[in-house]
Amino acid sequence: GAGVSQSPSNKVTEKGKDVELRCDPISGHTALYWYRQSLGQGLEFLIYFQGNSAPDKSGLPSDRFSAERTGGSVSTLTIQRTQQEDSAVYLCASSRNQGRGRRNEQYFGPGTRLTVT
């Protein structure tokens, strides 16, 4: 596709349920990032993938959060036993991650707004 896509656009779930958020990066982009945007914490990094491996998971807030990437493409962010404080917009970005200049720019998807009731 032309850009990064994310699904669903909006998700409302009950406290305690599990949710899966999906990200389709730009074709050929080896790097993929998840960020979270919430009122209290601003925009924060969650996890970084290079290919299918995740060398940096330092931003995941708890062990209820996990992510995987398959085929060097699609990534899924899973939140188990959701809590109200998980309510936020989850943004995904991808890049080529090589060299200088525009080749390593991050392109963002439109995000998934998660509401935990």
């Binding site: 960020y35 931003g59 060299g99 392109y107 963002f108």
Partner: protein, 120 residues
């Protein structure tokens, strides 16, 4: 760890006038990038302008320009001839530079954002 600070939660400007958004950052690295992103109500983060720390010349993109003061660790965004479509949340962001082998691991560290309102 790097930090990015935007001290202006909200700014406003009249259409066709100029506005400057402030950003300061803290880092011990010498090679890094700085960015300004725009986020309209659609949530889509749009890259406005980028600056590489090793370049002394300030970046410009049409009506958008930056004032990059490396020693002061300051990176402000100037929007000239403001348009109604410029209204959005603006984020300043930091990223480490190119590492060994040309790879560029680049998680972004964002400031808190500045809401820009443009009055007709």
């Amino acid at each position: 760890a790097q930090t990015v600070t935007q001290s202006q939660p909200e700014m406003s400007v009249q259409e066709a006038e100029t506005v400057t958004l402030s950003c300061t950052y803290d880092t011990s690295e010498s090679d890094y990038y700085l960015f300004w992103y725009k986020q309209p109500p659609s949530r889509q983060m749009i890259l406005v302008i980028r600056q590489e720390a090793y370049k002394q010349q300030n970046a410009t993109e049409n009506r958008f320009s930056v004032n990059f003061q490396k020693a002061a660790k300051s990176f402000s965004l100037k929007i000239s001839d403001s348009q109604l479509g410029d209204a959005a949340m603006y984020f300043c962001a930091y990223r480490s530079g190119v590492g060994a082998g040309g790879t560029s691991y680049g998680k972004l560290t964002f400031g808190q954002g500045t809401i820009l309102t443009v009055h007709p």
